[in-house]
Subunit: 465 residues, 4 copies
């Protein structure tokens, strides 16, 4: 057995070297090196626990901690000698630890398996990621709130089915994203709570005969508790899948914003404009100004959905306990984290940067009979059943379409011909400006409701900031 | 315009009838009739609110409530005259309401749109589903607990990578599923909390100019609050996607159980047997006894993953607000609910019904050097660094493999030859029976830990029952 | 053992009845009855082969064929007595066959297993489905071709990134979908070829000791050959997954068309109008006219993607041979078939029915500097390197944006100031009308190319019709 | 405008620099540099066509070709100065070209857009990938064939539902994978044919006013033809999705092999053994020998499914033409290619390396009543209807189970008691050794059929090699 093979911590029982093709296929250190900081943090907690329990001497503890510090520096400064033949980052670090700390290094893995070690590292990364995303969400909410305040009385043609429906305040519109992101934030907070159990000490699957104290290391690492069942925890990737599921939902929210803004700013619609600094051009068409950031946000949503699907499919068909299939979870997790962080970074620029082309919007407000529903509701206040009112306004609209008129342009006589309950105040009802004033109830797009929402979010963001 | 077309509540502004191919393509009443009970419940709350706000008279309210009662009975008894040409269940019910209650029926849709109505019905169904699943999960946990108690000292060869790893108590094994399902239960509980906001009153997207009181209907329907932002809520399907994501995770847990039990009971392994009453046969091979229930559980996991993927993909690329694409969410939701309920129904039968073939298990325990880790940890207690201990035991295993021996069969001399730190007590360490006794720490598969887990779950289930 | 249980063809070796919960969970006849016509067709071919090989008498053959005819009629007329307790459609038919034909009916399953039987039925359905889809695709291509011919010289602002890019002929635009659907058609044709192997005769997994003649039944059923390897074929669902993959691609093509048309017809863009007969309204907003068909087409694309994902995930993690997980494939297949057929039915209505709002389109053509690329290419013909030309035109565009001008409105002097190589013929280049005339090469959106494409597709469709 | 910004080929019309966050978010050169060889090849063909058409001088052509050669060397030797701020590999190469070749370099993009350029590069990579995979598949088929020949008369207990079903020859078993991979190969061959159209010349979406000759460059690049419709081809990613779909199917085949082999080699089954050189160990458990390669193959199948889902979802909801969302397709494509190549590399090692533990297999053959179907078919040859025969054998099996006997151990009397049609030759029927001899028909697992299959594949592989 040569030097290279000897490096494997598990080589004792093997007769022949690993086939180089298999070595290449099974190595993961080029991917999982990203776990290094968590691996070191976990090892620190582990060795302190071992020392406290008398499983290593305080001299060994010291040596190991010093070596871990050195390894941390080597990794940060790019000096760490990664070795593909040592499979993964965990073995790379342990091997280096032995190089630096000698025999003491051979004690770090006491009462530990790569199974609980990997589970720990991944969970720490996921929990840390949740913290980061929540901070970014908060930033977006601040920007949404600022712009909602600024634009609370500015209207544009709200749609359903992309067909003009009713006027909508930009403020109310932006606050809707505040709601969506608020739900994402609450899911992340619950995620942190649900998965705050440390796997360290579960070993390969059964815990250890040594007098470990998993609660102690859990506490040091900031977990609420240590694992309740070693067998559950070594094969548990619920936290990883759940984070991807939350990411998927979060990205869907952002992709709907992207979809809207791409529509708003498309040449033929042109309600809003984004600063040049957020746009790119074309290699062939000299006049182009494209909103690639938003298209990428939408595209990355698809990627995240694919990653979440991959991980769910990965687990489907797996028996319990640890299987190497799970190694694949990392590349999907890491790609998702990057996609989400990047998107959360660009979205605030878009929200804070967009400018409204008021002339285009005002022209658009004249189309689509946006006040038709208000008119029908006005008829209801005159005692007409809603179904009858709906039909009467429908016929008025049909008449307008034929004549090329807007509802506002109809004479009172014409209005009364098809909707006899109309009084002169109907003209007021049909004015776009009345829209925000005539809605009072909670959650509606009336001005009162919008200001309530702004106050609510102001408080909440203030509390979180 | 003929009679058939006139039935559409929105026909006022249209010049021509709907093309029959389009009618067929857009109808959904054959699917969404499942929402009828929630639709009626929602209409009751809506009309009571309208009456309380003076938007309908108490006479109208009474007539509408009576008609809703009649419709409910018609639906339950299979007498309801579903009409495909009325598109969906909501229009079917409203149309029937007008048939029964006349003009009063034309007032039910006051201040309401199908957008908030559908969102309400779906959300009520999803919340109700969460309650049902939680009750079923509790039943499984009871069965798991009973069998864990019964089998707590019964061992089998635990694996990682399907390779014999360490002994495992059936009790500890079953309690691992208790942990998994416990997480599902907590996610469902959080789901109920996060989405306890009523959409009723949001209208098409902007709320209403009428003096609605959304809080009142929310309260009557058992929601914690009414919606905060009308625009958010009409296009919000977060709750639906999140329920499918939870379903996906839950089914993955059950599919891992299925995978294990299919392995355990496969002819070549044969550690457990399931009662004939849970198995089916072959049309060609007379001797077959197949565990189709478990294979179906695994298969339905794939189906649920597909449904969750479909709904996420459905929303990806959608602008905000309501779009008819969302109609597709129902068939994926309903299929998922059925798959999950059915699987939660059969799993307890499997868990309570399986019998252990002790002879087969005992034979299997002799293979795979299950006590190798305990031996290495014993060497650690003698002062050997774990890495050295690991290698020494690895070499002992290699020796045993060559000689066709088990570790227990090695003489003390042989043991000491390769692992000089062995004392005579090593023979005790190598006995399988010592496994449960020699593990003390929390969460481990030692007897103390298993009994702690049983006590914990006993209390928790007691509290929930 | 009671009467009900006795019905199971595999009951011989079982001691107890199937648990009713398991019965409900495992039954599939409510879903797979859709396979009945193929099951009967397959049974006919099987019994004729058995008779030809002397495995049943011609009297038995006759009786069985007569009984199959009766069953076929019962199913078609809705008289067939489906029994849930007989699990699936295959056992239902076999049981009924025995009721009608007595002992002869007990011979139909000679040398056959449900494994090869189900594989056969599914494959026949899939191949038949491919034929149907291809016929529908051809219909759409005819409509595309007609409208392309009609609109070949009619321009609109082509986009990339939804930003105005270059003029585009509606004809060239529609022919692009002809290309996409042409690829789908070719994939379906290859699908028919690749999977034209009959599974009948493969039995449970190993074929039969009886002198079967699988080639004979394959030929009768219209397959190119019988299976090459019995073990492969009983667990093979490649054809089913491949059909779903093709469906996924096909629906993606149609969803892009839907996405475009929803944009074109959105109120703010309003380039095209669809007939009222293809649109639906709103329950609350009297003025709405929504293109629900296109949104549903897009939504059903997501559903099909979910179904394809489910089936791939179903197979992932399965050992070879038949497992009951595969039962789940049916609901995903059937739902996909319905979604695709329905969508292929509505799309031609949309393509043939849309009308262009020329005034809106003409206005839109003035925005977005659509001729900028032609201008840059003109500079290239004057000897300027393209990169320089691109930059010069970019600056001209920047100037126009500042001054609120179009390129056409620039004086020759201004043009020459920033792009000195301009000659007077540049004014011709900048005219939108020149666009179609100035493109000559194959595949371009010039008129010559469009007419070549129309000729090509005219021939191909003529040949296929 | 500073130097850095000027580098963008599209900067002409922009007023401000790209925000660094947007720059980071939109850059892709760290991913798409993998396309460099195809980009250079495409540029060569493009410039030669430009020269042949008189659009660049032969002097420019020469300079550009020389510069491209230099760039190629720089990339291969790792000297190429990648610049993130130039977004993607295409702009990096074009910029470098201008650095090297000066003004001539500014002519390379004549009549070309990044849209057709990216489509070309990706398509060339995909077609090249198909060639590579097919070669690897051929290698696996050779190994399968060799081992099938070696093991054609060696039996093991075939299963359905993991329950012992009928004996199976290892040869027949391995040839089933030959069939599966044969279908994959045929799909890849069709893929090459269907997508052999060059996008070069389609420009941004509309082709060019310059006298390009797309057929010429298509031919030089080895395509069967140039694009038929420029608008189709710039947004066409069918080929990419189709390749991922084929990859998904291919990996599913390999994952089923992996699943089987993991079962076969699990400690409790132990029918086969893999060489140490293909296995890895455990960091904690000294005795472990794990088949990580097969678990990774299974895991990578899930990854590929996720990537295919991502790309389908990416396109869903996209309008026609090019959108930046499509940038995301690359990371899914590249990850898939690596996963597939790696897996195709390790599978032959597994197939050629596995050894059968004959003793374990022979013991297993005694369980599960593997000859029950042969017995039932024997009864059929005695004139008994199959349903009756099936039931009689079922009862014999039930009797054996009660008495702890195998079918072979039953006396003729006992056999005749429950199946009176048995003659003395029944003992021969029940012998496992007769299994291969008593199956004659095509595709069955009889020896004759296996040898036919081997001959068939021998010829086909010979022809392809």
């Amino acid at each position: 057995m040569n030097e290279k093979q000897k490096k494997k911590p598990w080589a004792g029982r093997f007769k022949s070297e690993l086939d180089p093709i298999v070595q290449k296929y099974t190595r993961s250190v080029h991917v999982d090196r990203r776990l290094a900081p968590y691996d070191i943090q976990g090892s620190r907690a582990h060795v302190r626990m071992l020392a406290a329990q008398g499983l290593v001497t305080s001299r060994d503890e010291e040596q190991i901690l010093r070596a871990l510090g050195q390894i941390e520096e080597e990794i940060e400064s790019g000096q760490f000698p990664y070795r593909d033949e040592l499979e993964d980052i965990h073995m790379n670090i342990e091997y280096r630890l032995q190089e630096i700390a000698g025999e003491a290094g051979g004690r770090i893995h006491t009462g530990r398996s790569r199974n609980d070690q990997v589970a720990l590292d991944l969970k720490m990364l996921c929990l840390q990621t949740a913290i980061g995303w929540r901070a970014q969400i908060l930033e977006i909410q601040k920007v949404l709130l600022e712009r909602a305040q600024e634009l609370k009385t500015s209207l544009f043609p709200g749609w359903t089915h992309l067909q003009a429906a009713q006027p909508l305040s930009w403020g109310h519109y932006l606050l809707a994203f505040g709601e969506m992101l608020g739900r994402d934030d609450r899911r992340l907070a619950f995620f942190q709570e649900l998965h705050s159990t440390s796997p360290l000490g579960a070993g390969a699957l059964a815990g250890s005969t040594l007098p470990l104290d998993p609660e102690r290391s859990a506490q040091e690492l900031g977990f609420a508790a240590s694992f309740a069942n070693s067998y559950d925890v070594v094969g548990d990737r619920d936290f990883l899948l759940e984070l991807l599921q939350i990411a998927c939902q979060l990205m869907l929210h952002l992709s709907r914003l992207a979809e809207d803004f791409l529509y708003f700013s498309s040449t033929a619609v042109n309600w809003i404009e984004l600063p040049d600094s957020l746009c790119t051009g074309s290699s062939m068409m000299p006049q182009k100004k494209n909103l690639d950031v938003l298209e990428l946000a939408r595209g990355k949503t698809a990627s995240v959905l694919g990653h979440a699907t991959a991980v769910a499919c990965l687990i489907k068909g797996l028996p319990t306990s640890y299987h190497r299939d799970l190694q694949q979870d990392k590349e999907h997790l890491f790609a998702t984290i990057d996609a989400v962080i990047g998107t959360l970074e660009v979205i605030p620029l878009v929200v804070s940067g967009f400018q409204i082309n008021q002339e285009r919007v005002q022209n658009a407000m004249k189309q689509g009979f946006l006040m038709a529903t208000d008119l029908a509701e006005y008829l209801v206040t005159r005692g007409t059943p809603f179904r009858v009112a709906h039909e009467r306004v429908g016929k008025l609209v049909a008449y307008c379409l034929e004549e090329g008129l807007t509802l506002e342009q109809l004479s009172l006589e014409k209005l009364q011909e098809l909707a006899p309950e109309c009084g002169p105040e109907v003209r007021e009802v049909l004015k776009l400006e009345s829209f925000l004033r005539r809605r009072w109830h909670k959650g509606s797009s009336g001005l009162v409701s919008i200001e309530q929402q702004i106050a609510h979010w102001g408080e909440r963001i203030g509390a979180l900031s």
